[in-house]
């Protein structure tokens, strides 16, 4: 009794020969399906890689950020809040953060200006992100002059360039001294952009949040947990949305598969009659036809995934850059960190092979149960 595998191999032989009879059509079908799977897989791999990296990098984000809101808009935080917070039980430390945005019309980009809490650049100098340096063509020692809040040009000397390795975080960063920051933006001495708190016992962060809501009705605490979950949701959301969109194209393929399986030409129907006449069982015919579908969808899955892996992790997801960049002039130059999540692989395989095969059950059955004696007439 030959092994089941041997018998399946013979059926695959015939399926491949049958597909090979019209190579143009079937290779075209495979190519397009592979492309769809590749785009789907690229989105998944890229989002997963960014989600992983965001989760690792932002693990160091402040435990609690307290933001003051005025008429629903982000407003400056008076220094008096600092003293009131220090009294709160559970808060082990608090400091004011000074950061803001600046639109540079010269290259049409937004910069994030920030005052580092420790070892800030000397007054009159600044440190700039690698992306910024690249797009403005600045070197250490050059002068960067920006239009200050009072309309006068405010020049600072570039003292340092942040490492390109951290561009994902710092591509548009401008670090400067507190004195320069306040002069540039005209922010009074006793005001901060927002507050950053350390919590004595990380488990208590939720109770501290409740306290902050009570004590400061006009401000909003943001926990590190929410920061991380935002990025989970951001990339999860994109995966989900793009996935659903691309499912449309997989569905189109499913209809194509259904049509191909049921819309057999008279020639193909006669051939199946001949196969049955010379001794193939209905079950053999059905398995052979399923193999025809499996060959295309399985190959599309494998090729699509490998192409996506090369595209995202070796070509830096170059095809996605325009979508991701949007209208941003400053775009971080970073190589996505390869990370493959088994669940995504299983889901990708599922969505590629399952609908394709499902669509062909009834058409294949109808074709396979034709009468063999029709061949004699």
């Amino acid at each position: 009794m030959p092994s089941a595998f041997q018998r399946q191999r013979y059926l695959i032989d015939y399926s491949l020969m049958a597909l090979g009879r019209r190579p143009g059509k079937h290779l075209g079908l495979l190519a397009v399906y592979t492309l769809i799977v590749a785009v789907l897989a690229s989105v998944m791999l890229f989002s997963e890689s960014l989600r992983g990296e965001a989760r690792l990098l932002l693990a160091g984000a402040p435990e609690v950020v307290l933001q003051r809101l005025e008429a629903g808009r982000h407003a400056l935080m008076p220094a008096s809040y600092l003293a009131r917070i220090e009294g709160l039980r559970g808060v082990s430390g608090v400091r004011g953060r000074l950061w803001g945005y600046h639109y540079d019309p010269f290259i049409g980009a937004n910069y994030t200006l920030m005052v580092p809490p420790s070892d800030a650049p000397l007054p009159g100098t600044l440190a700039i992100g690698a992306g910024l340096a690249r797009s403005r063509g600045l070197e250490v020692g050059d002068l960067l002059s920006l239009r200050a809040a009072n309309g006068e040009p405010y020049g600072l000397k570039v003292a340092a360039r942040l490492d390109t390795e951290s561009e994902l975080l710092s591509t548009d960063l401008v670090l400067l001294s507190e004195q320069d920051f306040r002069a540039f933006f005209g922010i009074p001495a006793d005001h901060y952009t927002d507050l950053v708190l350390q919590v004595r016992n990380p488990r208590e962060v939720h109770t501290v949040k409740e306290k902050l809501n009570l004590v400061f009705p006009d401000s909003r605490p943001i926990l590190r947990e929410e920061v991380l979950r935002t990025y989970d949701a951001v990339f999860g959301w994109r995966q989900g949305v793009v996935f659903v969109i691309l499912l449309g194209s997989v569905l189109a393929f499913v209809i194509l598969a259904w049509d191909k399986a049921s819309g057999l030409s008279a020639e193909e129907r006669r051939e199946i009659g001949v196969l049955k006449a010379v001794g193939w069982e209905t079950a053999d015919i059905m398995r052979m036809k399923f193999w025809e579908g499996a060959v295309i969808s399985l190959s599309a899955f494998l090729l699509g995934y490998l192409l996506a892996y090369l595209h995202v992790f070796h070509a830096g997801a170059v095809l996605f850059a325009p979508v991701l960049k949007g209208w941003a002039v400053l775009y971080p130059d970073f190589a996505p960190l390869p990370s493959v999540d088994g669940l995504q692989l299983a889901t990708l395989f599922f969505f590629t092979v399952f609908p394709y095969t499902l669509a062909t059950i009834v058409p294949i059955w109808r074709v396979a149960t034709r009468d063999p004696d029709a061949v004699m007439r």
């Binding site: 999860g236 989900g240 949305v241 669940l343 889901t347 095969t357 499902l358 009834v362």
Partner: protein, 335 residues
């Protein structure tokens, strides 16, 4: 409900499987009502053709069920970090009351699917379709079961709310808690292991005997079911502890984590496969008495018993290896 592709897949599968089974059931009713092998009429030919479609639909649904069982556990495992308080799949399954029923129903559907396909295989190998009526009666019984499973799974997935604080496996699988999981975790490891091997030896013997002799399907199935339950108990009460190298961590799901080199799958897949094959051999055993079927049923039982034996040996090899190679040394404390 998080818009995660895996959850979309799970929902897609369960709806498809319900539709396929309903279709198969409808055809089955038509076939059973008009089935008359002796007549050469065209209607009989059409009914015979329908049996192929029904068999294909059910086989496809069964494979889909198998994939969705693995996908459900793997999804719960991977999404556990999005649920506050969940460390593994247990936490996610605790997220609402339909989690565990969904898993149990999926397991029941998996086993009954395996049994039906074996019944179908024996029926199509004999010369006069002897089991047409019983096999389609079982199928009609399977349809509501699958619909219920789909309903429960949908309620579980649609009501998954990441903001809900869930209790993790530490709370559920701990001797201090209450409920079945707690009692099982409370069993002394020595007893857990003793019960496992007390069930394993007769099951292996039954499988060995069924592989050589004839008509040992029913005892094998009964023993395998008992062994299946005791194996799960053993995992919770002793094997998991060795995998985690932690004397109080009883969770049966954390073994599926990548950190433990996916040893969970190496344990559960052979166990489930062995039980499915053994149960299938039990389902076909009663038909030995039919005249034309004795040889066929015996041959099929031998084949299934052989596979069940291999899978059982694999499961016990992995379990023994996990315990022996673990850093945990509890000699003198537990035994």
């Amino acid at each position: 409900m998080p818009v995660h592709p895996a959850i979309l897949a799970l929902i897609g599968v369960s709806l498809t499987v319900s539709a396929l089974l309903a279709l198969a059931g409808a055809f089955a009713i038509g076939v059973v009502r008009h089935w008359d092998l002796t007549s050469g009429s065209e209607r009989q030919l059409r009914l015979e053709r329908l049996t192929y479609l029904i068999a294909t639909l059910v086989a496809f649904a069964f494979v889909a069920e198998l994939i969705s069982l693995l996908l459900l556990v793997y999804t719960a495992e991977t999404l556990s970090d999005q649920f506050v308080g969940a460390m593994c799949a247990t936490g996610v399954l605790n997220a609402n009351p339909w989690g565990w029923p969904a898993l149990f129903l999926k397991i029941v559907v998996f086993f009954s699917g395996a049994a039906w396909l074996t019944l179908n295989r024996v029926d199509t190998r004999s010369r006069d379709y002897p089991l047409v009526r019983p096999k389609y009666a079982l199928l009609l019984g399977l349809v509501p079961l699958v619909w219920m499973e789909t309903g429960v799974l949908l309620r579980f997935l649609l009501n998954l709310d990441p903001a809900v604080i869930v209790s993790c496996c530490g709370a559920l699988f701990s001797p201090a808690g209450q409920g079945v999981a707690a009692e099982v975790s409370g069993i002394a490891p020595a007893w857990g292991l003793a019960l496992l091997y007390a069930a394993a030896l007769p099951t292996l013997a039954a499988a060995w005997w069924a592989r050589r002799g004839a008509g040992a399907g029913l005892p094998l199935a009964g023993l395998a079911l008992l062994h299946y339950v005791l194996a799960l108990v053993a995992v919770v009460s002793v094997i998991a502890l060795y995998v985690y190298e932690h004397p109080h961590h009883h969770c049966p799901f954390c073994v599926l984590k990548a950190g433990h080199h996916f040893i969970g799958y190496a344990l559960y897949v052979p166990l489930f496969a062995a039980t499915a094959w053994a149960l299938a051999s039990g389902v076909i055993a009663p038909w030995r008495t039919r005249p034309g079927l004795r040889a066929l049923v015996d041959a099929e039982t031998r084949r299934l018993a052989g596979r069940s034996l291999m899978a059982l040996l694999l499961f016990h090899a992995v379990a023994a290896w996990a315990m022996l190679s673990s850093g945990l040394r509890m000699a003198g404390v537990w035994w």
